[in-house]
C-alpha cells in the first residue's frame, strides 16, 4: 500500500499526530500563499512588472510588444537624424566617431529592488559631466546637425535603457515564477499527500492500539468475573457446609428465635400500613 511507503518515518503517537496536523496546515497555507504570489502578489507591487504582466497573458505580450515597437520608432528617428548628419557633414563620420570614443559619457547604474522577496533589477541612466569625446566632430560643417543627432540618440538610448530594465525584470521574474511553480507543485504533489498519509497511518495505528486496549480490558474483566464467580461458588459451598454443621448442633433454639423475629416485623409493618 502506498501509505506504507509514502509517509514520513514517525512513531504513531498522539504528539506526532499533532505535529503532522500542524505541518499539513502549514503546507496548505504556504501552498495557497505561493499560488497567489505566483500570479499577482509579485506583480502588483512593482510598476515595471505591472507593465510586464498581469493576469491577462495577452496584455503582457502586448505591453512588451508595444515597448519594442516604440523602440523601433525611436531608433528610426535617430537613424534619420544620423543620415542628416552624413548629408550635412558631407561624408561618413563613422570612422572619426569610432576613433574618438574614449570614455563613456552615458552610463547606467544598476540597482535591485526587493519586491516581496524577489529582487528585481532596474537600470538607471545618467551622464557623467565634463568629458566630451566628440568636441571636434562636425567642426568644419554640420555641427548643428551633429549636436541634434547626439541629443536624439541620447533620448533613444534612454528608451533602450528603460526597455532593458523591463526586459531584465521579466527574465528574473520568469526565473522566479519557475521556482515558485516548482515549489507549489512539490507542496501539492509531494508534501501534502505525504503528510496526509502519515496522519492516516498514525490514526489507524492509534485506533489499532485503542482496539487492543479495549480487548485487553475485556479480557481482564472476563478473568475477574471468572475469578469472582469461582470465589462465590467456593463461599457458597463453605456457607452450606457451615449451615449444615449449625443445623446439626442447635436447630430448635434458633428456629424459635427466627419465628418470633419475623412475627414482630410483620406486625409492625401492618400497623404502619394502617396509619398511613
Amino acid at each position: 500500500m502506498s501509505g506504507a511507503t509514502n509517509r514520513e518515518a514517525v512513531f504513531p503517537t498522539r504528539q506526532s499526530l499533532g505535529l503532522m496536523k500542524s505541518k499539513l496546515k502549514g503546507a496548505q497555507t504556504g501552498h495557497d500563499l505561493l499560488k497567489r504570489k505566483n500570479v499577482s502578489e509579485v506583480i502588483y507591487h512593482y510598476p515595471v512588472v505591472q507593465i510586464l504582466s498581469s493576469h491577462a497573458t495577452t496584455e503582457i505580450t502586448r505591453r512588451i510588444d508595444e515597448a519594442k515597437r516604440k523602440m523601433g520608432r525611436v531608433m528610426q528617428i535617430a537613424a534619420f537624424s544620423l543620415a542628416e548628419v552624413t548629408y550635412a557633414v558631407g561624408g561618413d563620420i563613422g570612422y572619426q566617431v569610432q576613433e574618438s570614443a574614449k570614455s563613456a559619457r552615458f552610463r547606467v547604474r544598476t540597482k535591485q529592488e526587493n519586491v516581496s522577496g524577489v529582487f528585481l533589477p532596474a537600470f538607471e541612466s545618467y551622464t557623467t559631466d565634463g568629458n566630451n569625446d566628440f568636441g571636434l566632430t562636425g567642426l568644419g560643417k554640420g555641427g548643428q546637425q551633429v549636436q541634434r543627432c547626439r541629443e536624439t540618440y541620447a533620448r533613444a538610448v534612454e528608451t533602450l535603457v528603460e526597455l532593458a530594465s523591463l526586459q531584465t525584470a521579466f527574465v528574473i521574474l520568469d526565473e522566479v515564477i519557475k521556482v515558485v511553480n516548482r515549489r507549489v507543485n512539490a507542496i501539492e504533489h509531494v508534501i501534502i499527500p505525504r503528510t496526509e498519509n502519515t496522519i492516516k497511518y498514525i490514526n489507524s495505528e492509534l485506533d489499532e492500539l485503542d482496539r487492543e486496549e479495549f480487548f485487553r480490558l475485556k479480557k481482564v474483566q472476563n478473568k475477574k468475573q471468572r475469578d469472582t464467580a469461582a470465589q462465590d461458588a467456593e463461599m457458597r459451598l463453605k456457607l452450606a457446609a457451615a449451615e449444615k454443621a449449625e443445623a446439626a448442633s442447635g436447630a430448635t433454639s434458633s428456629d424459635k428465635e427466627n419465628e418470633a423475629g419475623t412475627g414482630d416485623i410483620l406486625g409492625e409493618s401492618e400497623d404502619a400500613d394502617v396509619i398511613f
Binding site: 566617431v97 563613456a104 547606467v108 540618440y153 521579466f170 515564477i177
Partner: protein, 124 residues
C-alpha cells in the same frame, strides 16, 4: 533569488554590436568607452558583411561573460540573427541583452528571443 551585489554593482556601461550606422549613432550619444591601455578594450563592435560570425560570437562572449562592467548589451537584430543559437541560449539577467532594429532592417518582434520567451511562458 537575489543576485549578489557583485553581479551587478560595477555594471555601468552599455555595449553594442551593430552595423556602422547604429554604432556611430550610439557612440554619438556617448556610450563609447575604451578601457585604459595596455589591454584597451572597446565596448562596441562594428559588423559589416565582411565580418565573420566567429568574430561576432567572440565579441558576444566577451561582452556577456568576460567583462563584468557591462550592464546592457545592445545588438542589432539582423546581427543577432547570425548568432541566433548563442542569443537564444543566453538566459542570464546581467548584462541585459536587447535586440535593436537597424536602419536597413526593421524590427521584427517574432524573432526576438525575449519576446519568444514571454510567449512561451504564457503558453501562446
Amino acid at each position: 533569488m537575489a543576485a549578489p551585489a557583485s553581479a551587478y554593482k560595477d555594471r555601468q556601461f552599455l555595449a553594442v554590436i551593430g552595423d556602422e550606422d547604429s554604432v556611430t549613432g550610439l557612440l554619438l550619444a556617448g556610450i563609447g568607452h575604451v578601457t585604459p591601455p595596455p589591454d584597451s578594450q572597446k565596448n562596441f563592435l562594428v559588423v559589416d558583411s565582411k565580418t565573420e560570425n566567429a568574430a561576432i560570437e567572440e565579441a558576444f562572449n566577451r561582452f556577456t561573460t568576460e567583462r563584468k562592467d557591462i550592464g546592457i548589451l545592445l545588438i542589432n537584430q539582423h546581427i543577432a540573427e547570425r548568432i541566433r543559437h548563442r542569443v537564444d541560449t543566453y538566459t542570464a539577467a546581467f548584462p541585459a541583452l536587447l535586440e535593436i532594429p537597424s536602419k536597413d532592417h526593421p524590427y521584427d518582434p517574432e524573432r526576438d528571443s525575449v519576446l519568444r520567451r514571454v510567449r512561451r511562458l504564457f503558453g501562446e
